[in-house]
């Protein structure tokens, strides 16, 4: 039975002046014969109250509000049992098109048609069934400062947690420090690392369980229902979310022979220096003589494309701290710091200034070109110094400030090796054999590095970025990773110091708790926060092509032996990339489906060839491109009246069938607006726009079949601030269409 539908047309904000409301109402009443169609003077609070009252009186189940952009409204304004759809007549019609024009009217009419069709195809939402059975314990992997903080913060919020630590003791790197860099105002004096106190608090907290000398054997399941199995003690338990705080390991600089590490006894790393200082006094390794002249070499194997390309952010501070050790030990000792750029971020600038004041601390920008043995001591050659000449310093010890490498595992690479080994074991021949062998060779060093040992189709750990840090959009979504319910904190997420790790772990613990609470309400986590929809699979028609399981950026889907996807709604972020990927179109959401968008496209009235009114379909990412069009309207920038914009969850959720439908319907072109992709992607769903780009092969195939020009379908990478660029792209595209002519399939 069809639901009772109401349409409310807002005539305020200039909409009433731009279009003929009577004519527009006819679309609702005559074409679609909706149950109620009314106008409201605007969409401010009292109008919304009027609509809400009317909904109740008329017993409406579905409501279309044609007025401002959907981004204008507060969420959860309307009762949950009412389905609401917003048609954007303000920003994307009245504010960007001339008034009283035929084309403007046609545009408004089409948008209303699409809105009504969309709501007709929308079904009511229910939380996924698993939401009733969400475990709310947090697993913390790693017992260093980040892990301990995450557990304590989780406990403070009233949730249970379990720490799993590989080493026999808790404390991590902090327990190995003699002193910490200053952590409180005035940021001048070295502090006690204070880790014993944290360990004590953890040990005494009844809400925290600790497993030391233990690693994870297996984690099965999904957020809210992870089944964890430990190595060693064999303990098995269920948790809801995971904080990975596995920290860092020191970079071992190879191929830095000129710095003498490994060849000269008195050339050591910052980590070795710390050990020595903690053990007692700072001495030459060669003869045990107290070190009176120590040269610190910054960026040893950092910010160098042959080593670590990035800055570890703490090495400069660490050397300043160790220079203080040297100076404390002997008032006549000298500590030299040779840097490329001395970096003391934030309040640590005060510590740098404090150390700078010490008469026995000498700093200069410069490049260390060689370290040589010179009798009992070392000669350190430095070029391009601030002293205006190349210098040579006599040193008892040379300390190389080496960077941090995350204690992570690259799940994608590990999976690739596992798959390659399986393939070779199967005895299948062909050109694949060489490819698989090469893959094992290339990724071999990832073998045996598993940490979480997740039972995920896409690999046992989180996918990492090029530097080995777990992939996450660090500005928009800190702590989030590409595995829902698993949050990275501390030095495994980004290079950072103890203070940063404390802050990070607190954030990650909060994220884990938030995730568990949202899952228990059946809602999605960031970025589609609170979304109740989830993908449903009509598996009877699945052809086991595995595209959905391969393409999901979050590893949501596992497969059975045959390759049929096994949905995990608690792992899902609702981006719809699976919907876009599925050639059988069997993956759909109750409020976002292949049929729905296709029907909306079909609802547009395409004038025939002789009217010379082309039509261009714009599928715009709702996160960046769609708001950019709104901004253009807000700034009253005009653009072609021949475009019809449909927001999509992500460009990756675009099913190629929609493009085909549009071309068959007579649209003259399709513009796809998504986010930037590549190493520095801006896609909310990691690789949505990139995936759409690769699906372009299928599109071109279809264009070829239809004997249409490739230029008719184009993908553009834009961001939310690109409203001017978007309009010029639209202008250029319309010119292209004019040049290549109308789509010959119009009216067929």
């Amino acid at each position: 039975m069809a639901s009772k539908i109401g349409v409310y047309i807002c005539v305020g904000y200039g909409i009433g002046e731009a279009v003929n409301i009577e004519e527009l109402s006819k679309v609702a009443t005559s074409e679609y014969k909706v149950d109620v169609c009314k106008t409201v003077p605007s969409c401010e609070a009292e109008d919304i109250e009027f609509i809400k009252k009317d909904i109740a009186e008329q017993e409406l189940e579905k409501v279309v509000i044609a007025g401002p952009s959907p981004r204008f409204y507060q969420p959860k304004t309307f009762p949950p049992n009412v389905i609401v759809e917003y048609v954007n007549l303000r920003e994307q019609v009245a504010w960007c098109q001339p008034s009283h024009e035929e084309d403007t009217q046609m545009m408004a009419n089409d948008y209303l048609r699409m809105g009504i069709v969309k709501i007709q195809k929308t079904q009511p939402l229910d939380p996924f069934p698993e939401s009733k059975d969400i475990n709310k314990t947090v697993l913390v992997v790693g017992g260093g400062i980040a892990g301990l903080t995450a557990a304590l913060e989780t406990a403070a919020a009233g949730y249970d947690s379990v720490i799993v630590e590989k080493a026999p003791q808790l404390g991590g790197w902090m327990a190995k420090l003699k002193k910490s860099i200053p952590r409180s105002a005035p940021y001048e004096a070295l502090e006690d690392p204070g880790i014993e106190e944290k360990i004590k608090q953890v040990r005494q907290n009844p809400k925290i369980k600790v497993h030391t000398s233990t690693e994870i054997a297996k984690i099965k399941g999904a957020p809210g229902m992870f089944d964890v199995e430990l190595k060693g003690n064999g303990a098995a338990f269920r948790v809801g979310a995971i904080v990975q705080a596995t920290g860092w390991k020191p970079y071992q600089p190879k191929n830095l022979n000129h710095l003498g590490l490994g060849n000269l006894a008195d050339v050591i790393t910052g980590v070795e220096m710390e050990e020595m200082a903690k053990a007692g006094s700072i001495k030459r390794k060669s003869d045990g003589k107290e070190a009176k002249s120590v040269v610190f070499v910054q960026c040893a194997g950092s910010r160098d494309k042959n080593h670590l390309s990035y800055c570890s952010s703490i090495c400069c501070l660490n050397s300043l701290k160790q220079a203080a050790y040297v100076r404390e030990q002997d008032g006549d000792a000298k500590a030299y710091i040779i840097y490329e750029n001395l970096r003391a971020p934030g309040h640590y600038e005060y510590f740098y200034k404090k150390m700078q004041q010490d008469p026995g601390v000498f700093m200069t920008k410069g490049e260390v070109t060689g370290v040589k043995q010179n009798g009992g001591s070392l000669a350190v050659d430095v070029k391009d110094t601030l002293l205006g000449e190349d210098i040579s310093i006599e040193a008892d010890l040379v300390v190389l400030a080496t960077g941090m490498v995350p204690q992570s595992a690259d799940g994608e690479r590990i999976r690739a090796i596992i798959d390659a080994r399986k393939f070779l074991a199967s005895g299948e021949g062909g050109p694949q054999v060489d490819i698989m062998k090469k893959r094992i060779e290339e990724f071999g060093h990832h073998e045996g590095t598993e940490i979480l040992n997740l039972d995920y189709r896409q690999g046992p750990d989180m996918p990492t970025l090029q530097y080995g840090y777990p992939d996450s959009h660090f500005i928009c979504f800190p702590y989030e990773t590409r595995r829902t319910g698993i949050y990275a904190a501390g030095a495994v997420r980004a290079p950072m110091d103890g203070l940063g790790s404390i802050e990070d772990a607190t954030g990650a613990a909060f994220k884990a708790i938030q995730c568990l609470e949202m899952l228990s309400r059946g809602e999605a986590v960031l970025p589609r926060t609170s979304d109740l929809s989830y993908p449903e699979f009509f598996l009877q028609r699945c052809t086991q092509c595995k595209r959905c399981t391969e393409e999901c950026p979050f590893g949501t889907l596992n497969e059975d032996e045959k390759g049929t996807p096994q949905p995990n709604p608690t792992r899902c972020r609702r981006c719809g990339i699976c919907l876009g990927a599925c050639p059988e179109r069997i993956i759909n959401f109750k409020n976002y489906s292949v049929d729905m968008i296709a029907s909306m496209i079909k609802a547009v009235e395409v004038p025939d060839e002789f009217e010379e009114k082309p039509r261009v379909l714009i599928l715009a990412c709702e996160n960046d491109a769609y708001p950019a069009f709104d901004t253009a309207g807000f700034k009253r920038l005009q653009y072609s009246p021949f475009v019809r914009i449909i927001p999509v969850r992500c460009l990756g959720s675009v099913n190629v069938i929609w493009i085909n439908e549009a071309l068959a319907k007579g649209f003259d072109g399709v513009m796809l607006f998504g986010c930037k992709y590549g190493d520095d992607y801006q896609c909310h769903f990691i690789k949505g726009s990139e995936l759409m780009n690769t699906r372009g092969d299928n599109v071109r195939e279809k264009l070829k079949q239809m004997a249409l020009e490739n230029e008719r379908v184009q993908l553009f990478q834009v961001q939310i601030t690109d409203y001017e660029k978007i309009l010029s792209l639209v202008g250029e595209f319309m010119e292209t269409i004019e040049q290549i002519g109308m789509n010959p399939f119009k009216g067929m």
Binding site: D332, K334, K353, Q356, Q357, D358, P359, G360, F362, T364, K365, D381, K383, L386, L387, G388, E389, D390, I391, S392, I393, E394
Partner: protein, 403 residues
């Protein structure tokens, strides 16, 4: 082409220099007024705002890192330290509060004892804790020199006419000359030895020696260099360019000319006394008296300007060191006690004149008995350094820019 490149590389390759910071030097310069020097992070704002620096290898940026690295040899051989007149434009604009102006002043103060034998006297003059010793020496020497029998009278405030006051009887001139001529001649000898050393050391400077700014009119011509140096000092041509504390230029000018007038007046008096046989006291309208009074006014006015600015804290960001105060206050004391001697003598309480005369002579000794070791010596070192930089072409570009 290849050969050319090789030659280029060979000639432009800089020699690696062994550096070994002198921690004691850093501590001493920090104690002598350069306590902020370590704050420098080499942004070069100082060299950019300086109106006095040559364009090539400008100061004071390089001096700041040499100081913070304790590279004493580089600093003491650096004429640029003396091309600085401590305008403090650099200190005002320094974003880190490193006060390059104060640092260079501290280095200058440090240098007197480095070059002048015996260096322990330099040490006496570098810290207030030696002040009793510094004054004990002239007091003892002058007590020995004076006529012991007259001390009760001098102390007794007996009422006498001005013409009845005979300083000659209280402190016989031959004794006085013995003390002062011996002291100043010895000091002068040590100063000359120090300056010769200084000249030689300036010649070893690799950074700022000959050829930094070649081609100036004074380069290689010692006569022209001396004339140019004297001209610069008389006119305060460089000092005048200071922006942030241009009052110092006026104050310094007053002090310098006041001192010169007093010195010339004294010379004429001695000439009249011994060559012409004129009897003391001289009439008020005699040339030495007129010059002396004019000099007194200029000197005290200059001192008041400088001291008031330093006390009011308006000396911008500069801090006054012990050596600054020693010279200023001793100068002031000499001027005031000198004038007092005259006033008291004519006041009718002339008995007290002996005491004031004694005190005046102690301060005179403090000024000229120690001159190669105190900041007083700056006029000689600065003269030599400016002369050297003109002779070697170092400040040619400045001279040309000024012209």
């Amino acid at each position: 082409m290849t050969t050319e490149l090789t030659t280029d590389a060979a000639t432009t390759a800089t020699k690696t220099v062994k550096v070994n910071p002198d921690l004691d030097f850093i501590r001493e310069v920090m104690a002598a007024g350069g306590d902020t020097l370590k704050k420098c992070f080499q942004c070069a704002t100082c060299s950019v705002v300086c109106s006095l620096t040559p364009d090539e290898r400008p100061f004071p940026r390089k001096e700041m890192i040499w100081a913070s690295w304790g590279l004493k040899d580089k600093l003491i051989s650096d004429p640029d330290v003396w091309l600085c007149h401590q305008c403090n434009d650099c200190s005002v604009y320094c974003p880190r509060g490193a006060k390059p102006g104060d640092t260079l002043a501290a280095v200058r103060n440090y240098m007197f004892k480095t070059f002048t034998f015996p260096s322990f006297i330099g040490t006496w003059l570098s810290s207030p804790k030696y002040l009793p010793l510094v004054f004990a020496v002239p007091i003892i020497l002058l007590l020995i020199a004076c006529n012991m029998g007259m001390i009760p009278e001098a102390a007794g405030h007996g009422k006498l006419l001005a013409s009845q006051v005979h300083f000659e009887e209280f402190l016989p001139h031959k004794n006085l000359y013995f003390v002062f001529i011996t002291a100043t001649h010895l000091a002068g000898l040590f100063l000359v030895i120090g300056l010769v050393k200084f000249w030689k050391v300036l010649g070893t400077s690799t950074q700022t020696g000959a050829g930094s700014n070649p081609g100036g009119p004074t380069q290689g011509n010692i006569g022209a260099s001396v004339v140019a140096t004297i001209k610069e000092i008389i006119t305060h041509a460089q000092f005048k360019k200071c922006q942030e504390s241009n009052h110092r230029y006026l104050g310094h000018l007053g002090i310098m000319y006041g001192f010169l007038l007093l010195a010339i007046g004294t010379a004429i008096e001695i000439f009249m006394l011994y060559a012409l046989g004129t009897k003391l006291p001289l009439p008020q309208l005699s040339l030495p008296k007129i010059l002396g009074h004019l000099g007194f006014v200029a000197l005290v006015a200059g001192l008041i300007i400088v001291i008031a600015r330093r006390l009011s804290g308006k000396e911008n960001v500069s801090k006054s060191s012990y050596q600054d105060w020693y010279l200023l206050l001793v100068l002031l004391a000499v001027a005031i006690t000198g004038q007092l001697v005259e006033f008291v003598r004519y006041s009718g309480y002339a008995g007290m004149a002996y005491s004031v005369y004694f005190v005046h002579l102690v301060f005179v000794f403090a000024l000229i008995g120690y001159f190669p070791y105190s900041k007083f010596a700056h006029m000689f070192y600065r003269f030599v350094a400016i002369l050297h930089s003109k002779y070697t072409g170092r400040d040619a570009s400045v001279a040309q820019a000024a012209a």
